[in-house]
Symmetry: C2
Subunit: 217 residues, 2 copies
């Protein structure tokens, strides 16, 4: 079967999580860029891959998948290599809960509520400080929930092995930690802070640092 293809920009947090899963499993793959600034994710070509116009989309042979958590689980199940879903039911459930908390409560305030307006302010317009201030308690609530779901004593979110939950969270925390709000809030969550420090040196993390963070163009 042909090698899998990830459709999405490398700077998209969900696209990055999928690429990291492929790197962790050592799966040869291709990444096809979809430029959000150019609205390519809303063009017919991408809507055929993802009817809601979001990122990423995934293709393996003639099997196409959209929605990140199903893509991650497919990659884990379809390819050999390290298992990214914990074998233990309690750890697997906590990982699934963390992914659900990220998607339902954490991603939007941390990325769209804080990171994007802080990092890419609209030219000639003041930053909407009120909107950012409203996102802060939502981000804190999600981070507290994730901290409470983490299992100790373990380097990763739910154990000694990296999991799909780690991969989903890394790109989001990576962006969030670089904002003034993130730098101020994150130290309140010591388990998450320790996790973030350790996971920084993971090859799949280092190999996927977005240009917006590395400063390299």
């Amino acid at each position: 079967m042909s090698k899998p293809i990830v459709y999405g920009p490398r700077y998209s947090t969900y696209t990055r999580a999928v690429i990291m899963a492929l790197l962790e499993k050592r799966v040869d793959h291709a990444v096809v860029h979809v430029d959000m600034d150019e609205q390519e994710h809303k063009a017919p070509e991408h809507l055929a891959r993802h009817p809601f116009g979001l990122l990423p989309a995934f293709q393996h042979g003639d099997f196409a998948i959209y929605e990140t958590v199903p893509i991650l689980n497919y990659i884990d199940d379809a390819f050999p290599g390290v298992r990214l879903a914990p074998a233990d039911i309690l750890r697997r459930t906590r990982a699934a809960q963390i992914m659900s908390v990220i998607n339902s409560y954490g991603y939007r305030p941390m990325v769209w509520g804080i990171f994007v307006p802080r990092t890419f302010p609209q030219p000639g317009k003041p930053v909407d400080e009120k909107a950012i201030a409203e996102a802060v308690p939502k981000a804190r609530q999600a981070l507290q929930a994730i901290e409470d779901l983490m299992l100790n004593p373990d380097p990763f979110l739910v154990g000694r092995q990296i999991s799909l939950a780690d991969l989903l969270l890394v790109p989001i925390i990576h962006y969030f930690a670089g904002t003034p709000e993130g730098a101020k809030i994150l130290p309140h969550y010591p388990k998450l802070m320790a996790w973030h420090t350790i996971i920084q040196s993971r090859p799949s993390v280092l190999e996927t640092v977005p240009k917006v963070l590395s400063g390299v163009e």
Copy 2:
């Protein structure tokens, strides 16, 4: 281990899906009512179970879980009986995608955008027809996506066996089908219509019909 407990009102679509999973697996369980009209889901007792104050929450021995999809997968994995996650990777992935589409795009417009304002209009206030009209295309987009993800020829969403995706969708379509908008929209999706007709007679569906639909108080 003590029998599992579901915390939530039987009229909540997500609570009903969890109860149906327990019935399908023939797991002896208890349901503890949490009354949304009385704001019991925002009370400290429930926030200790679900920090975001949503429904349902789940307890099995000393292991507590919130977020419906992780609860459903835990029930499927922890208890004997019929498997609700398809063994085949393609069917399992399609089921996961359908669950993700329900949660991210389908639930809100169908239940909160259309069913709730139509069924429980605010006393003395006109129904917000503009808000309902805005929810209709969103509901249609989600239904089209689910229809496209269904695998044929099969009585259930992704195969000959009922899956977690069927359980998550039934309570939502059940409510939606009873609204004028649902009655008008659903016939555009012939696979979903056939599915809804067949699944109506499933014992786990019949045993969990909410009083708001059965008319029995």
